[in-house]
Amino acid sequence: MSSILRGLKELKNYPSAMVGLAIIAFLVVLSIYTVITIPYSEAVKLWRGADQIWIENPRFARPVFFDWFTPKKLARTIIVDSRNNPNAKIVNQYGEDVEIIITLEFDFLYDEFPTEITLFMNKKIPGSDMYATFYWETPDGRRINLRRGSIKTRDSYEISQDTALRRRLGGKDAHVGLFSAGDNKKPLKGKYRFVIEAVSFDPEDDLDVRLIVYGTIHGIAGTDHLRRDLKIALFWGAPIALIFGLLAAVGTTALTMLIAAIGVWYRGVVDGLIQRITEVRMILPTLVILIMVGMFYSRSIWVILGTVVVLGVFGSGIKVYRAMFLQVREMPYIEAAQAYGARGGRIVFKYMLPRIIPMLIPAFVTEVPAFVFLEATLAFLGISDPVVPTWGKILYDAQSKGALYMGHYYWVVIPSVLLIITGLGFSMLGFALDRIFNPRLRRM
């Protein structure tokens, strides 16, 4: 075991290994931070996106840092709530009737049109009759009558979807038409006002409204077609990729090695059986089997992990380790151990396996990214745990919504970069370890 420690100490002489370690450390820190700040159940709930959790997020928003690399000021989401502005509301009582006038003011100073405008309304008395007229006032003093109609207890007015309004704006979407002056391609900057004049026939009635002008950038990772913050999946992708990759790599390498050693030691029928299973397994396509397991049995990440390990165990690794063990088996110290009474189990575990473990460490580390990519591949093909947010799943969503065709590069690039640096980190460390533990390579 001390030879392993010595080898690990030697790592600091390899800059690539230090870079690799730094990447892995970053991923580990990110994972720990994620697991602590966004607990698993919370992440699952957020990613499922039920109960309109994400209603305040724009769709297809780019990450905020896009704003740093362009001279234009990209549109952020503006939320104006009457409850936060007590001065916005004027209530007039006329006998049995009540008139409520709400004026929402906001500054729009961006160089881009927003992507959507929606109004959410909350009426106090259920079942009362309330009618309202909605106006839009632009910085250049125009007042546009948007709509007139009744308001339900919990109501929303999707201004961008209002086809009558679009017709009146000359065929322009509301979020473009309401923010532009004439045929100008740029939005008009300045103070906008949104006015609601509502009348209710119940004197106790009250109204609160929230206007959301959706922007084009959001958060550190952007959002997807369901307004979900991609941060959740990008952050949670790290621990899941690491756990999946490490468990699969540990599981396959350790079991492969053990089975190869058992086959070599007991020879005969045992070895023959292991070899035939391996050969048959090597003909069968791993990916297809995994897809079938995912389709017909279960998409649970644990079932997929188990299948990956079982398929990985009886792979080409068995042949490689078998070749090594055949050499070890003939070493005089094994014969000596037999002479002083060591038997099968002890020889396999105490005499054969420790001989190979130093060579196993680099193999194991370089195998981690292969499993991380396999998990992402399966998710990309739609075989992934339905509740767990992962990098592969983001790519799957991006692919199925035509992200690249629509120009949503961030949606594809960020998870891909995370996958690549994960692979890079483990590979750089693994190659350095390979040089340390297989000194034959050092001279090359």
């Binding site: 070493m331 110290y333 014969e335 002479a339 002083y340 001989r355």
Partner: protein
């Protein structure tokens, strides 16, 4: 000789390696050891000499129970070790020690000396750390590896060849065996440490009354060592005699040739040309008919040696030879 003092009796031992074609079809046997018989008394040292490929090592491994013989018996302390059950085999493995040729290969490179010496004790149920330490200290002191603490923590690659071989000897003797089989224990060591190792082994053997089988191809070292010599050729024991008798008066033509080949560091060697038997050791799958040595023998009797297998002829009650020349 009293039957009581006999420790090991090998009776008509045959060890064959099966040859197979395509891993299935039997095509023949490599007859590595053919009809070997001898006895070894308690505390006695016996040398087995012969050239490479004559079956010495196979014989040693069979005696240790590492190879199953094709036929014959190996009787140790009255028990046939080829017929032992699991438990008895474990007991037998504590009764015999094995010293191999390559000391570095014989030590697991990933274990410390302490761990290496503990392994046999753990297998045989000696788990008390004090008892283990006492045994390790005792044996290493006897082998002049002092201070003991300096060596226990070391890995085999940190030791010199001689030290490695001493660890191997320590491991072979730590269970207080009755028999040690040393298979060319010094042939891979530097000439400078050979004598030292042999003397240590001899000393250990005498002090503890351990019987010893010393296997070598080098006749120049056997005189240090043993009371008796067995000469093997192509799986046969061709001659057996007390050491001094054999060295002074070799009978079998092959023994004579072996003795001729010993190099003494004298200037005379420059002038003389050694007579070594021509040819190579025979193929053991299809050994020569009659006497296996006859194709290389200068003294062969045509019509007899190439036709009929020779028998043992006893010269006196200690020396026997497998050669037609001594037919009476």
């Amino acid at each position: 000789m009293q039957e009581k003092s006999v420790l090991l009796r090998v009776e008509n031992l045959k060890v064959y390696y099966e040859l197979k074609k395509f891993g299935l079809i039997h095509v023949g046997y490599v007859k590595a050891v053919e009809g070997v018989s001898f006895t070894l008394n308690k505390g006695e040292a016996l040398s087995i000499v012969g050239e490479s490929g004559c079956g010495k090592t196979t014989l040693a491994k069979t005696i240790l129970g590492l190879i199953r013989p094709f036929a014959g018996k190996v009787v140790f302390d009255g028990k046939d070790i080829t017929q032992l059950d699991r438990k008895a085999r474990l007991w037998y493995s504590s009764q015999v020690g094995f010293v191999q040729q390559d000391p570095y290969g014989a030590l697991p490179p990933f274990m410390t000396v302490k761990r290496i010496l503990q392994e046999p004790m753990l297998i045989h149920g000696i788990r008390d750390p004090k008892e283990q330490m006492a045994r390790m200290t005792k044996i290493l002191t006897e082998l002049k590896m002092t201070p003991v603490e300096d060596f226990l923590g070391k890995f085999p690659h940190m030791l010199s060849g001689g030290q490695q071989q001493r660890v191997v000897i320590a491991r072979a003797t730590i269970l207080n065996p009755k028999l040690i089989v040393a298979d060319e224990p010094v042939s891979m060591l530097d000439a400078s440490v050979r004598v030292e190792i042999l003397q240590l082994l001899r000393q250990l053997q005498k002090e503890h009354g351990i019987a010893l089988i010393y296997i070598t191809h080098d006749l120049s070292t056997v005189s240090y060592f043993s009371e008796r010599i067995i000469v093997m050729y192509a799986g046969w024991v061709v001659e057996e005699a007390p050491t001094q008798k054999l060295l002074d008066n070799p009978l079998h033509p092959y023994t004579k040739a072996l003795l001729e080949a010993i190099s003494d560091p004298t200037a005379e060697n420059l002038k003389t040309f050694k007579r070594v038997p021509p040819g190579e050791p025979p193929n053991l799958v299809n050994p020569p008919s009659g006497c296996r040595f006859h194709p290389r023998c200068e003294m062969r009797i045509d019509g007899l040696c190439d036709k009929e297998k020779p028998e043992y002829f006893w010269i006196d009650d200690q020396q026997r030879v497998l050669c037609w020349l001594y037919k009476r």
